[in-house]
C-alpha cells in the first residue's frame, strides 16, 4: 500500500473538519442575504397579514431570533442526519426533495462531464500528436468558438432551434409528461430525448478547457527525452501515443476530472433553468428566491460533502496513477 493508516486517518479527519466549516458557512450564507422566509412565503400566498407572518415564523422555528440557538439546533439535527423541513414545500423534509432531484441532476451533469472530458482528452491527445493537423485545427477552433459564446445564450439557442423551430427535442423537463404505462425502454428513451439538448449545451461549453489542458500536457510530454527513446525502440504509433505519451499527460487532467465529479451533485443552475430541468440546481435556485433556509443549507452541504469526498478520492487514487507520488 502506498499510504499509511495514519495518513488516511489524518486525511479523513481533515475532510470532516472541512465539511464542518462548510456546514457553518451554509448556515450563515442564507441568513446573511437579508429578507425573511416567513415574509417571503406569506407574500407569495397573498395572505401577508402580520398575524400570518408571525404564525409562519413560529411554525418554522424562527421565533427565537438568536442565531446561536438556531445554529445549535441546525448542528444537532445535522449530526442526527436530519436536514430539516423545507419552508417552501412545507412539510416535506429537505432530504426528500433533494433525493427526488438528485437522480436527474446526476444523470445530466455526470453524463455531460464524462462526455466533455472524453471528447476533450481525445481531441487534445490527437491534436498534440498531429500538431497542426486537421483534428488539431478544426477541433481547437470549434471548441473555442463554443467556449467564447455566453453559455445561457447558447443554451437558449439550442432550445429555440432544435426544440421550438425544428421540434426534434422537447422544450423542457426530464421525462415525458405521462410516464404511466411506459415500458422501461420507452422510459429510458424518453429520458435520453429530454437529456440530449441540456447535455449537449454543457459539453459544447466545457470541452475547450479539457482539450487545451490535455493538448498542452501532451505537447510537453512529447518533447520529453523518453518519448524519443520509446520511438527508437520501434514501437507502433498507437502504443507511443497512448502508453507513453497520453499515460503521462493525463495526470494533471485527472485531478480536474475528479473535482468536476464532485461538482456533479451541485447541479447546473443555468442549464436547469433554461431547460426547465428538475434537478438540484433548479431546486437550489428556487430555494434562494424563497428564502428556504433548510433547503439552501441542505443543497450546499450536499455539494460540500461531494466535493470533499471527490478530493479525498482523487488524492487516494493519484498515487496509483503516478508512482512518483506517495502519500505519507
Amino acid at each position: 500500500m502506498r499510504y499509511s493508516a495514519r495518513y488516511l486517518a489524518k486525511r479523513v479527519g481533515f475532510a470532516l473538519l472541512t465539511i464542518y466549516l462548510a456546514a457553518t458557512a451554509d448556515f450563515l450564507l442564507p441568513r446573511l442575504m437579508g429578507g425573511n422566509p416567513a415574509q417571503a412565503l406569506a407574500s407569495s400566498t397573498g395572505l401577508a397579514s402580520p398575524a400570518t407572518v408571525a404564525a409562519i415564523t413560529k411554525q418554522f422555528g424562527l421565533s427565537n431570533p438568536n442565531w446561536g440557538y438556531q445554529y445549535g439546533l441546525y448542528l444537532w439535527q445535522l449530526v442526527h442526519g436530519n436536514l430539516g423541513i423545507s419552508y417552501e414545500y412545507y412539510p416535506s423534509p429537505v432530504s426528500t426533495i433533494l433525493l427526488r432531484a438528485l437522480p436527474y441532476t446526476v444523470a445530466l451533469v455526470l453524463s455531460a462531464t464524462v462526455i466533455s472530458f472524453a471528447v476533450g482528452w481525445t481531441l487534445g491527445m490527437i491534436g498534440a500528436w498531429r500538431r497542426g493537423g486537421w483534428v488539431d485545427q478544426v477541433g481547437v477552433s470549434i471548441a473555442f468558438g463554443f467556449y467564447a459564446v455566453p453559455y445561457f445564450w447558447l443554451a437558449m439557442m439550442l432550445v429555440f432551434v432544435f426544440a421550438f423551430l425544428l421540434g426534434w427535442f422537447p422544450m423542457g423537463h426530464a421525462l415525458p409528461s405521462s410516464i404511466t404505462g411506459l415500458t422501461p425502454w420507452q422510459w429510458i428513451a424518453g429520458a435520453v430525448r429530454h437529456g440530449i439538448l441540456p447535455v449537449t449545451s454543457l459539453v459544447l461549453t466545457s470541452t475547450a478547457g479539457h482539450l487545451l489542458l490535455m493538448r498542452n500536457n501532451m505537447l510537453t510530454v512529447l518533447s520529453d527525452d523518453y518519448m524519443q527513446l520509446a520511438r527508437a525502440k520501434g514501437l507502433k504509433p498507437f502504443s507511443l501515443m497512448f502508453r507513453y505519451a497520453a499515460r503521462a499527460a493525463m495526470l494533471p487532467s485527472f485531478t480536474g476530472l475528479m473535482l468536476s465529479l464532485g461538482n456533479v451533485v451541485g447541479g447546473a443552475v443555468v442549464t436547469e433553468i433554461v431547460f426547465s430541468y428538475p434537478g438540484i440546481g433548479l431546486a437550489t435556485y428556487n430555494a434562494i428566491l424563497s428564502h428556504d433556509y433548510p433547503m439552501i443549507q441542505g443543497a450546499f452541504l450536499m455539494l460540500a460533502v461531494a466535493v470533499v469526498a471527490a478530493n479525498l478520492l482523487a488524492d487516494l487514487i493519484y498515487p496509483l496513477l503516478d508512482p512518483r507520488v506517495t502519500l505519507q
Binding site: 527525452d225 527513446l229 520509446a230 525502440k233 520501434g234 514501437l235 502504443s239 499515460r247 503521462a248 503516478d322
Partner: protein, 333 residues
Amino acid sequence: MGVARTAEGSERDTVLRVQGLDVDYLTERGVVAAVRDMTFSLRAGEIVGIAGESGCGKSTLAHAVCGLLHPPARIRQGRIELGGQDLVGLSERAMRSIRWERIAIVPQSAMNNLSPVLRIGDQIADAILAHRPSTRPQAREKARALLQMVGMLGHHAASYPHELSGGMRQRAVIAMALALHPEVLVLDEPTTALDVMVQATILGAIRDLRDQLGFAVLLITHDLPLLLQTVDRILVMYGGRLVESGSADGIWRRPRHPYTQALLEAFPPLTGPRRRLNAIQGLPPNLLQPPVGCGFAPRCPLTMDRCEEQRPPWTIQGDAAAACWRLDGEGEA
C-alpha cells in the same frame, strides 16, 4: 569524394557504412549545415568513438544513423547502409522494424530516458513485444535476465525510474538496447550526466558486453580522453565535418589535426607532470554560413593563407587520416 576514406577493414564484416552524408536543419534563419560529407564505416564488434565539441553535429549524426531525424532536420544526401541496406528514404513503417531490432540507441540524458510512470521491466518488455511474438510475462522474464546481464538485480524490473540512481537508469537503458541483439549500438553521450566512477563502470560494462555479444558500438562524446581509453578507433568532427580519423593509440601519440591537438590539450592528464590547460580560443563556425575553407582556420594557431580559402584535402597516412593543409604533400594517397 568517391575514394574510400577509411582505409581500414575488409568489406565483408562492415555492419554500418555512412557515405557522403549531409544533414540540414531547415530553420527560419536559413539552412544550417549540421553534417557535411560524413563518411565512415563500422565493423562487427568494433567500438568507434566520435569526438567533437557541442554543436559539431555528432548527435545529429547519431540520430541520422538511427533513422530518428524529424523536421526541421533533413538528410540532404548520402547513404546510411546497415548490413548493405540503405536506410535513407526508408518508409516510417520499414524503419520501425529496423529500429532496436538491428540498431539501438542509448541517448544522452540518463535522468530522463525512461517513462516515469511505467516499470523498468515493462519498458524493456515493450521493446521486445514490439518486435517478437511473445507474451508479456515472457518478455518481463527476459527483461529481468537483461538487467542481470548489465549488473543489476532482477527485481529492479519492478522498479520505477525515480527509484533508481542515474547510473542504474542508464544501465537499464543499455539492457533495453541489447534486448534484441542489435548489430549496432549507438551511444550518444551515454554518461554525460553521470559521475566519473559510474562513467568508467558503465563503459567497462559496454566493452565486456561487446566482447560477449559481438555488437558494434558508435560512441559519441565531447570527452576525447574518455574515448582514448575506451574505443578502438576515433573520428574527430568539427563544424559538421570529419577532420581526423585514427586509432585511439595513434591519436593519443600523434594527433594530426590542430583541432585534435587542441582538444587533447584542453583536458588535464591524470598522470605525469602538471601542465597548463589550454582552452580553445574563439567559437565554432556558424553553420548557417558554412566556411569555404577549413572551419577551424580562424581558431587555428598554425593557420596559413589557403586554409580559409580552400577546403583541405583528406590526407591518409597509414591507418590515420586528417583534413589539414599542413599534411598536404605528406600523404600517401
